[in-house]
């Protein structure tokens, strides 16, 4: 006998422990079941694209730090790559290796955060989160060595990276690379075979490959559906074509796959950094580029594989020292296209977990 209940509308957010910042979902429930979702954006809208129109090309680097604030390095990389493609500035070899090392470290840090918060949303009392943060802390310390800041790094510049790594960076990196796989095994021991996690995440929020591609999903969420697509392989930039690495994919496209793809990507990133450390040679890290870059009046779009997906910058130049128009293709934002379809029909607890597994950062969603 069906029990008729009155639908209840709840505002999840903007102040809610599990919305990854100030994100708001207007959810209608039938009992515990989600029957309608309407995401409400814009609580962290800062107008980055407009701000960029009045700053020169180097100053915008500091703006990109604040897009996806848990993965500032890859944001920097995506931006400076676009400027380089706009102007044709060359990057020296060592600069490219340093870029790859730092952005892969950032990818590990970002995936650790995603995993930790996903588990937090599953209800583990902060333990996996703190284990993840403990390892992320060591990456942030290395960033502090590279560029003096931990989160808002502003490390890359058009034409290379700002500064060479200090001498005490390399032993620390070696130490990290040797100990990290063990810590990852430990973290997996806490999560991957845990019956509660499996019961909560398996077959939950399944996204098919066709839908994912149609909805422009990128990053680990796309790869979890079985689509082997990674811009580091498809469009090898920097030195990725010299590195040997796999692109892990999921089998079903559910929440567990999204988690597991991230864990496997961390292992691949460690592999890449190891190869980079072996291959890197002394040399300049930054080519001579003018501070006030004046590209010809052209436009350029370059997509870069950031931890959340394809982060693309579309810059239109009118020949001046600042871009005429800068558009950001934010992966977190576009990955939310399927949110409604993924959530409807699941329960409140699942809503939080599916939303967490998409791994958005509101700084990037609202820009």
């Amino acid at each position: 006998m069906p029990i008729n209940t009155q639908p209840v509308t709840i505002n999840l957010g903007p102040q809610h422990p599990s919305t990854h910042g100030v994100f708001r979902l207007r959810v209608t429930f039938d009992g515990e079941q989600v029957i309608d979702v309407e995401p409400v954006f814009g609580y962290l809208h800062r107008g980055t694209e407009k701000l960029a129109e009045e700053r020169n090309y180097v100053q915008i680097v500091t703006l990109t730090d604040r897009l996806d604030y848990v993965a500032a390095m890859t944001n920097n990389l995506a931006y400076v790559r676009t400027v380089e493609s706009l102007t044709g500035i060359e990057v020296p070899e060592r600069g490219m290796y340093l870029r790859v090392i730092s952005s892969e470290l950032q990818r590990i840090a970002s995936h650790l955060i995603a995993t930790g918060f996903l588990l937090d949303e599953l209800g583990a009392f902060h333990t996996p989160l703190i284990y993840c943060f403990r390892e992320r802390e060591r990456i942030l310390e290395m960033f502090e060595m590279l560029c003096g800041a931990r989160i808002t790094v502003s490390y890359m510049r058009p034409g290379g990276v700002l500064q060479d790594a200090p001498t005490d960076f390399w032993p620390r990196l070696d130490d990290f690379l040797t100990s990290m796989p063990g810590y990852l095994d430990e973290l997996e021991g806490l999560i991957t075979e845990n019956e509660v996690v499996l019961a909560r995440t398996r077959d939950l929020g399944i996204l098919s490959a066709q839908d994912a591609i149609n909805a422009s999903i990128t990053g680990p969420v796309l790869r979890a559906t079985g689509v082997q697509w990674d811009l580091r392989k498809a469009e090898p930039h920097e030195v990725y074509d010299r590195l040997d690495f796999d692109v892990p994919i999921g089998s079903v496209g559910d929440t567990f796959d999204r988690y597991y793809v991230r864990i496997q990507e961390i292992r691949q990133s460690l592999r890449m950094i190891q190869q980079c450390v072996a291959q890197i040679e002394p040399g300049p890290v930054r080519s001579k580029a003018p501070y006030f870059i004046r590209p010809d009046s052209v436009d350029a779009y370059v997509g870069t594989e950031s931890p959340k997906g394809e982060l693309g910058f579309y810059i239109v130049s009118d020949g001046g020292i600042s871009p005429y128009r800068m558009h950001i293709r934010a992966p977190s934002f576009i990955n939310l296209t399927v949110l409604r379809e993924l959530l409807i029909g699941w329960k409140l607890a699942d809503l939080i977990v599916i939303f967490g597994s998409l791994d958005i950062v509101v700084g990037e969603v609202d820009r």
Binding site: R55, V58, Q59, V61, T62, L63, D65, T127, I130, Y131, F133, R134, E137, E141, E144, M145, L146, C147, G148, A149, T152, S154, L162, Q163, P166, E186, G189, L190, I191, T192, E193, N194, E195, V196, V197, L198, Y291
Partner: protein, 222 residues
């Protein structure tokens, strides 16, 4: 399977319980120490400590003794308390131009009747509003004379926003412990700003200021 994964998870947490080396807490600003830790931190041998300061020793056994602890920072850390050398600054305002937020305010007036290369402007005003500063360090990168350096502090707290504006007087009298960020000349000397040693203006630059003769010679050539 059959709850074995759950048991595995329990083992992981148990492992972390018994391994104190995995502790990630930094007890800032004061670290609680035991008796041995106290003697290690103060550098006083244990018997001497017991005789000299029995009250503190008992306190430390109760876990109530504290020693100062600071957060670990790399010399490259970009922090507030800018180190600015008036002697090196020419008032070119490159830093003000390069600042993405426009928070550096510089007012200059002519110091001589005939401005020549190497001669400097008189600085009437040099304000940095660190209440809005994001410590990106572009101003330091821009400075052609290595006059402005990032600091290493992070503990500024005031009751009013206006107090966060560092003016020229504060900049001159501030501690000169520049960060080695974007300053390879300091990094090559293995300088650590957290040790608290001040750096004089002549040791902070990448190049020495040209002498008057050199300047005149160069000027004459043009």
């Amino acid at each position: 399977m059959y709850g074995l994964g759950l048991v595995k998870g329990l083992m992981v947490t148990a492992k972390n319980l018994v391994l104190p080396s995995r502790m990630m807490t930094v007890q800032y600003p004061n670290r609680k120490v035991g008796l041995l830790g106290l003697s290690k931190a103060t550098g006083v041998p244990l018997p001497k400590l017991l005789l000299k300061d029995p009250i503190t020793s008992v306190k430390s056994l109760l876990g109530m003794a504290e020693v100062k602890e600071s957060l670990p920072q790399h010399p490259r850390f970009r922090g507030e308390e800018f180190s600015w050398y008036e002697q090196r600054c020419t008032g070119c305002a490159s830093c003000a131009k390069y600042c993405p937020l426009g928070i550096i305010e510089i007012v200059t007036s002519e110091s001589g009747d005939q401005m020549q290369e190497g001669q400097k402007y008189h600085l009437d005003k040099f304000d940095i509003d660190i209440g809005r500063c994001m410590f990106c360090g572009l101003c330091v990168e821009a400075c052609p004379y290595d006059a402005l350096h990032m600091g290493s502090g992070f503990e500024e707290g005031t009751y009013r926003r206006q107090d966060l504006v560092i003016d020229k007087r504060k900049l001159v009298s501030a501690k000169k412990t520049p960060s080695t960020w974007f300053r390879p000349q300091l990094a090559s000397k293995k300088y650590d700003p957290h040790k608290g040693k001040n750096v004089k203006w002549d040791g902070a630059g990448r190049h020495e200021k040209p002498s008057l003769e050199q300047q005149q010679e160069k000027w004459a050539k043009r």
